[in-house]
């Protein structure tokens, strides 16, 4: 229970379904702020109080579990390390993989619980496969696709069949004051939303060059970690392109600290390799299967064919996709069902 409307409503639904429910708020920050400022960030002390109040209204026991150290190590340090390596991580994914459905789940199972229930918008099918939520716009199966079948077997997502607007209405009817609380955006541990500032504080200045595909130096930067593939804004390059077309970040090379920029056509990718695959919706396909692949959170799906190549997934897109960043997840769907996912390691 984060203190938000989704987890509160999910808990209430679990009680109505007849389960024995205990509310848990995860203390993930080593220095929690007292109050939320705006909609950014999460898990301030105020959020903990909101979660406790919701649990009291629902009538379930409520505890706060201190996972700050594990979170700092498994999620925050990983986030920084990935950016330092020139990749674009998705920390929510890592949190689900390592904290919510691992550290928390392990502790819960040891204490005698059977499952972890969250307010994620996703569904579990009859065969234990992960599926998109009914509300396409809110669907969070992308950040849950990293879960194994074992983890999914111990997960519950009561909101998967409901549009967000109805969830808020339901929360209101249930007397949950968080019904009108705004959703938190961005990264929960970067309260002011300034990712670049956060990374600069953690990694320090790491100046390098901005070059074009031919290797010509166009400008300088303070840290390659402040860029992501496909980025257009924030490129401080002195001269405009000869044809006036905008420049995009095409590549980030962390060792030489070089950021390569170029035209939009340079962003096009036809093949994606993903590592650390998790296959939950089918057995790892030795031969290519047709599917739709999603390459970033809230991104569009791309028709593709994919197969399992030992410890990788090889994905061939039928049409080129733009701005595919390594470090993001590639999630393969068959309709609404998640077949599997991996972390994007190379693109061509």
């Amino acid at each position: 229970m984060s203190g938000g409307v989704d987890s509160a409503t999910a808990a209430a639904r679990a009680v109505d379904a007849g389960h024995e429910v205990t509310g848990v708020h995860l203390a993930l920050s080593q220095n929690p702020q007292s109050y939320r400022t705006g909609a950014r960030g999460c898990c301030t002390l105020e959020d903990a109080r909101d979660a406790r109040r919701a649990a009291d209204v629902i009538g379930i026991p409520f505890y706060v579990w201190d996972m700050a150290e594990r979170f700092a190590h498994d999620v925050v340090d990983d986030f920084v390390a990935e950016y330092a390596a020139g990749r674009t991580p998705n920390p929510c994914l890592r949190c689900n993989e390592k904290i919510k459905f691992a550290a928390v789940l392990d502790r819960a199972l040891a204490l005698g619980f059977d499952a972890v229930c969250t307010g994620h918008y996703a569904r579990v099918g009859d065969d234990g496969q992960l599926m998109r939520a009914a509300d396409d716009g809110k669907d969070q199966s992308y950040v849950l696709a990293v879960l194994t079948r074992e983890q999914i077997a111990h997960a519950m997502f009561p909101l998967g069949d409901t549009p967000k607007a109805r969830v808020r209405e339901e929360a209101r009817q249930r007397g949950l004051l968080v019904a009108d609380k705004p959703d938190s955006h961005d990264v929960c541990f970067i309260a002011d939303g300034d990712t670049r500032g956060f990374l600069t504080r953690r990694l320090g200045p790491a100046p390098g060059q901005i070059v074009d595909s031919g290797g010509t130096v166009l400008g300088e930067h303070d840290g390659a970690y402040g860029f992501t593939v496909g980025q257009r804004k924030g490129l401080r390059v002195g001269r405009p392109t000869p044809d006036g077309a905008p420049r995009y970040v095409l590549n980030i090379e962390p060792v030489t600290r070089t950021v390569t920029v170029g035209p939009a056509s340079g962003l096009e990718v036809r093949e994606v390799t993903a590592q650390r695959p998790v296959w939950t919706g089918c057995a790892p396909p030795r031969e290519p299967v047709e599917c739709n692949v999603q390459l970033r959170a809230h991104g569009e799906v791309h028709p593709a064919s994919a197969y399992s190549d030992g410890d990788c997934i090889q994905i061939r897109l039928h049409e080129p996709a733009r701005a595919v960043a390594t470090g993001q997840a590639a999630v393969l769907y068959d309709g609404d069902t998640v077949l599997g996912s991996g972390t994007i390691s190379t693109t061509r």
Binding site: G59, Y63, V64, D66, L111, G112
Partner: protein, 394 residues
């Protein structure tokens, strides 16, 4: 939802109100009158307050004029520590040291920390031994180091976590050798021990009624004549200008009733609780042979209703959750920061390591505790510890 009957082993947190106190308070709630008013309604209310004051004074071996009503123990502790510090330093600016034990309740501890940060006070922490006891020689040594620099001494009569009873009369006598006022937080002691203000020789003593069957929100700082703290609350000048604010007549009446009734039953009740508590210890150790009883051995140096254990290999908050799920209410004893359980500062001060300080539970018995409560705990604790160990190892 959890449908088990509640086995309540957390009387140190709060106690069920005595039916007599509820009846008296309810009756008084229907009446009108501010005890500070001069007219008939005010006089009637004031009579109730003053009779209550006299009853409470008698129970605790004090004069009526020595009883200052507050909203509870925390307020009384704040008033004593801050108020006496300010008063003493005003008379002599050299008096900047506050002597206290590291096992005080947070109402004293945090007041001392605040005085340090905001008022330039210098805390001097009195060492406690492995049972949590302060020896008079330690106080003498601490005062002797800088006799003119001491503003006030505060040592709790009995510790709320591990039940240690301090040699309060001896400690107060040492403080007086140096002319330093001695305050004691008697919040827990007043519920289970014969606490006598005059006999103890202390200058200031905190009590609160919800620890012995009275309502929450009604406490007192008992202050010797000639001991005048600087007030924390300014306003209408009530309570001899020491503590302003309209007096809560119904709560004060209930406070007095609870004090009188519990004092009448105290001796017998202490014997009964001690026997139940000793049985609890036996049952817990039988179920979990490597559990460690924290604090002094059962006897005159320990609160009769208090038991406190460390369970190696467990986190206290996991145990709490498991017992709560079986309808057994107890406590890890320590305050929470943002809801996350902190390791017990009392255990840490007594020399325990952090793991032991985190893996502990307090069971505190009271008026409504029966043998079946103890048996329920005895039946549940073994399994709970086993599960909590698995959860911690993972």
């Amino acid at each position: 939802m959890n449908t088990h009957p509640v086995v309540y082993l957390d009387h140190a947190a709060t106690t069920p109100m005595l039916p007599e106190a509820i009846a008296a308070m309810t009756e008084e709630l229907a009446r009108l009158g501010n005890p500070s008013s001069l007219h008939n309604a005010g006089r009637r209310a004031r009579r109730v307050v003053e009779e209550s004051r006299e009853q409470i004074a008698e129970v605790f071996g004090a004069r009526a004029s020595e009883v200052i009503f507050t909203s509870g123990g925390t307020e009384a502790d704040n008033l004593a520590v801050k108020g006496l510090f300010w008063a003493r330093r005003r008379t002599d600016p050299r008096r900047g040291r506050v002597l206290a034990t590291p096992i005080e309740h947070h109402a004293v501890l945090d007041s001392v920390h605040w005085l340090e940060q905001a008022e330039g006070a210098e805390p001097a922490w009195l060492d406690v031994d492995r049972t949590g006891t302060v020896r008079p020689e330690m106080l003498r040594a601490a005062l002797g180091r800088d006799p003119d620099g001491a503003a006030v001494v505060s040592v709790m009569w009995a510790n709320n976590e591990v039940g240690t009873v301090q040699p309060v009369a001896e400690l107060a006598a040492v403080a007086h050798e140096y002319g330093v006022p001695f305050h004691t937080d008697a919040v827990q002691a007043a519920a289970q021990l014969p606490v006598n203000f005059a006999a103890s020789g202390v200058d200031a003593m905190t009590v609160t009624s919800h620890k012995f069957g009275g309502p929450v929100g009604a406490g007192a700082l008992i202050l010797g004549r000639g001991v005048a703290p600087v007030p924390v609350l300014h306003g209408g000048g009530q309570e001899r200008d020491i503590r302003s604010g309209t007096l809560d007549t119904p709560a004060i009446r209930a406070f007095a009733v609870a004090a009188v009734v519990s004092a009448q039953r105290r001796m017998e009740e202490s014997r009964r609780l001690a026997a139940l508590r000793d049985n609890l210890i036996r049952q817990v150790l039988a179920a979990v042979p490597d559990a460690i009883l924290n604090g002094p051995p059962p006897g005159p140096d320990r609160l009769p209703g208090n038991a406190h254990f460390s369970f190696p290999g467990c986190e206290g908050d996991a145990l709490l959750l498991l017992l709560d799920a079986r309808g057994i209410a107890c406590s890890t004893g320590s305050a929470c920061t943002a809801g996350v359980a902190e390791p017990s500062h009392v255990l840490l001060a007594m020399g325990a390591d952090e793991a032991r300080a985190r893996g502990s539970l307090r069971f505190s018995l009271g008026r409504t505790t029966s043998q079946s409560d103890i048996d329920a705990l005895g039946a549940a604790i073994g399994d709970a510890v086993a599960r909590a160990r698995r959860a911690t190892a993972g």
